[in-house]
Symmetry: C2
Subunit: 534 residues, 2 copies
């Protein structure tokens, strides 16, 4: 706390990078991609992932300066401090959450000397409870009132308690246990819950209520809807509902829930997918063994992130390439484009994790920042996107750095050869072609067929998307986001920006319910205008 930490603008390396940005490597020149063994040298791989970055506008000099930047800003040592329990969630000199940041401790299970033993011990306790619980479900010891086994789970949560777990579930569907299925309810829109309840047989359904505070408006509302549906079906909610929450929260209540799994204050919602928030649902679906593989993938990436050498540290490298494009080349957004249908919701999770972490405008001493912080993150899977928004990526007036993600092998292994190639080959060919096309561009006598090129991208390749590589992929992005936040010297772990909307929503509800009777409030006037029938 109160430490003076350098941000990227104050650093000597940052000033050099501004100079280097004036004389950018031209990817459109002949041999630009192959000169100096660029393709082979601009690769970083670890933990089953491989990053190709020859199609970025970087040179050895830029990379060396990014290395210096990360050293000056002490990015890796701050990451180490975080993993070891440092109070990284704070704004010094002002009231703030003042918490440790220990999502990494949830998966630090594979070493005899975990970085923060106390938090890892808590994670182990919860995992042991989970293993027992899952065994009970498998054997049928835990069952419904008629003795039937549970086959379905409804996961009720929102934000960090929804997007991370859901995107990982979607990514790993082919690894699910036979007969098990999961549904998700998140939105306070009553149609969301209705649509799910119309599809499930509640008698064999577990309902997993996920809220750290136990007070999240949307989640409690949806819980009430689901409990009512259980009662309407003559089922006892206490036999069907479980909770993932903070110890002692309003929903940590054995009278109302079959059991509770705990998460802790030192884990932010958007970083909680490897805590009980994600792992209870994933355990039910995948089985305990595969969840441990998932955690192991994440744990290995956390260790990789402690390597001080930029070119060997995958998350640090991805973070610094992002800083280069955002702060020095001026691109306001980043597109994350997975060439994998299984990862179709992963960009939405990253959008949350990144933008809620780094969409900030004061630094860790409460001073307004004078440089761009977190970019806008967006994306959809390829090849679909190619037929949608790629027009703008290639020929639009806004340069969008792209983070492609691809898998060498498909998950399900079912494929056919059409016109001399398999679908998986077509998918890969398109992935590589897009990265190349963005970089090299094309000239033409027809101005409408010109492609300027020099549009940067990285290619992240995974041999096959498995629980383990999914864990590594998740931890890669979590660490990338954390490194960038350190470089901007902001607190990536709070979310004060969501408070005002909550306060005003309550005022609108008071107005709607008649609790607030003032005729002249802005809420009243706004509501009158909004609700007047056309």
């Amino acid at each position: 706390m109160g430490k003076k930490r350098k941000n990227l603008i104050e650093s000597i390396a940052g000033k050099q990078l501004h100079v280097l940005a004036q004389q950018l490597y031209d990817l459109t020149l002949p041999e630009a991609l192959t000169a100096n063994n660029r393709l082979e040298r601009y690769i970083c791989q670890s933990d089953g992932l491989k990053l190709l970055y020859a199609t970025q506008r970087v040179t050895d000099e830029v990379l060396d300066t990014l290395q210096e930047l990360s050293a000056e800003c002490q990015l890796v040592s701050q990451f180490q401090e975080m993993r070891r329990g440092g109070i990284m969630n704070c704004i010094s000199g002002f009231e703030s959450e003042n918490r440790q940041v220990l999502h990494t401790a949830c998966r630090d299970l594979f070493s005899d000397t975990p970085a923060e033993p106390e938090a890892t011990a808590q994670a182990r306790r919860e995992l042991a409870k989970l293993a027992l619980f899952l065994e009970g479900i498998d054997t049928g010891q835990i069952c419904n009132a008629e003795g039937k086994k549970f086959s379905t789970m409804i996961h009720v949560g929102i934000g960090g308690s929804d997007l991370g777990p859901r995107s990982i579930y979607e990514a790993l569907i082919p690894y699910g246990q036979k007969g098990r299925q999961v549904f998700f309810i998140s939105n306070v829109d009553p149609d969301d819950a209705s649509a799910v309840l119309a599809q499930v047989d509640l008698s064999t359904t577990l309902v997993n209520i996920v809220s750290k505070s136990g007070t999240t408006l949307e989640t409690l509302t949806n819980e009430t809807i689901v409990r009512k549906a259980l009662q309407d079906a003559n089922l006892d909610p206490r036999r069907h509902c479980i909770a993932v929450t903070g110890e002692g929260s309003p929903i940590d209540n054995p009278e109302e829930y079959l059991c509770s799994f705990y998460m802790y204050d030192y884990i932010g919602g958007r970083y909680s997918a490897t805590s009980m928030v994600g792992v209870v649902m994933l355990g039910f679906f995948l089985g305990y063994k595969k969840v441990v593989e998932f955690l192991q993938g994440a744990a290995e990436m956390d260790l990789t992130a402690e390597n001080p050498i930029l070119r060997e540290n995958l998350p640090l490298l991805l973070a610094m390439l992002g800083i280069w494009n955002h702060n020095f080349l001026g691109s306001p957004t980043v597109a994350v484009l997975p060439y994998s249908q299984a990862l179709h919701r992963f960009p939405a999770h990253l959008q949350q994790c990144d933008m809620e972490s780094n969409g900030k405008s004061v630094d860790r001493t409460g001073q307004p920042v004078t440089y761009k912080t977190g970019p806008i993150i967006w994306g959809e899977p390829g090849t679909n996107g190619q037929h949608a928004f790629y027009q703008l990526l290639h020929q639009g007036m806004e340069i969008v750095p792209v983070e492609f993600i691809g898998c060498i092998t498909s998950q399900r292994g079912e494929d056919v050869e059409v016109a001399g190639s398999t679908s998986q080959q077509k998918l890969l060919a398109n992935l590589l072609a897009q990265s190349l096309a963005l970089a090299v561009g094309q000239t033409s006598d027809n101005p409408n067929k010109c492609f300027p090129g020099n549009r940067p991208s990285t290619l992240l390749l995974i041999d096959r998307l498995t629980p383990q590589t999914m864990g590594a992929l998740l931890a890669l992005y979590e660490a990338k986001i954390v490194f960038q936040g350190f470089a901007w010297n902001i607190n990536s772990f709070d979310q004060e920006g969501v408070q005002l909307g909550k306060v005003l929503a309550t005022r609108f509800l008071d107005c709607l319910s008649g609790r607030d009777k003032r005729e002249d409030s802005i809420q009243r006037k706004f509501l009158q205008v909004a609700l007047k029938t056309p």
Copy 2:
């Protein structure tokens, strides 16, 4: 063709808007939202939709100047020309598609004097074929080899043949006919088709192959996969497959398909949701009557778009507010945030329709443009987004103009009261609160709890999302995109930017299949690096 058309920068109004942008209306001042009856006056409604825009940084003077801009650039008369069959898809002086743009003709069915009678006659013919086909399915005249009725459809398409139809299907699920269901396959990723095929009973499934050219790589590949699955299940593909395609295309073939429905060159893929591309699937699911309601909603909005008065022309107003934020206030992106779970994929459709249309950098005479064209469009449903990326919207360093969409009434009508309010009330309260919070902000002694405010948004309210209002919503956005393209003087109807990637993908496939044996091509080298196992 060859007409000299003014763009927004050349206009007198454009120059005035630059001056007005230096003295912006301050939404954070006390009474800023209520002064001068602002809330009541800054409303535009038509066709079941209502736009509230008091939370934009506009004044009467700005609006009047935007009105002048639209007059100088002849936006409405160009829209009229488009609807009447003008060749709007062209770049004068260069080879280009040189086509009419007549997606509006597909729904111009409710007037005795359609704007372009020939195209509307073609649309009527296809609709009549569809009505007959749907009747055959309903009665069981069209059935599988065993005489069983069809209950399921797999819609196979990509890009414009996928995102629009799919997002509308998702929006209208509660209106589906009992027992009918639809699945979608789009991605060339083989896992996409596998996942769908694992869920359906093919014996009662119709397969709808949608490709204008009949040559789309992804769609033909997925068709092959599905046909193989039909054969493996001892089903005759000719009894199960139908095609939506151009007349005379390779898949317009009665030997191989139960029947073909036609679309025409004058309809671009991303604007094709109201053509047979969307309507065959929607007709199967919703029934013919509801599809006509959907088309009627769109037709009415098309007429609204011909009103030259900015404040009464909903699509024009939305377009000009977007231009104001993008070109004069400098925001590179737009977030579309529906407070409706049913609209969860609508932002993805708009992302396609908008960015493929307006992500351009040459004008309609082939000259490079010197101003920003189409923005980056992104978004996810609220309230979910509030727990995800809204932090950046409120406190980030990048200002994101927001287009909120909300419904007064839920679709399914199932709701409960929790803590004194229904879910639908909570949803609405949050929607209004976000718009207000972004506009007015908040001061605080704690810099981390400060909200700068002055972040612009519009609130588009729908009484209830029905086939008809969904049609109006779709056409609203189509027209908005077209108006903006006219203002930028670009061709919003081609997509040359997707070609280079296609060409390079073919080269990669030639390399993978061994057809291209050169050892020194960039493709070969790229593949070697990418596929080398870690």
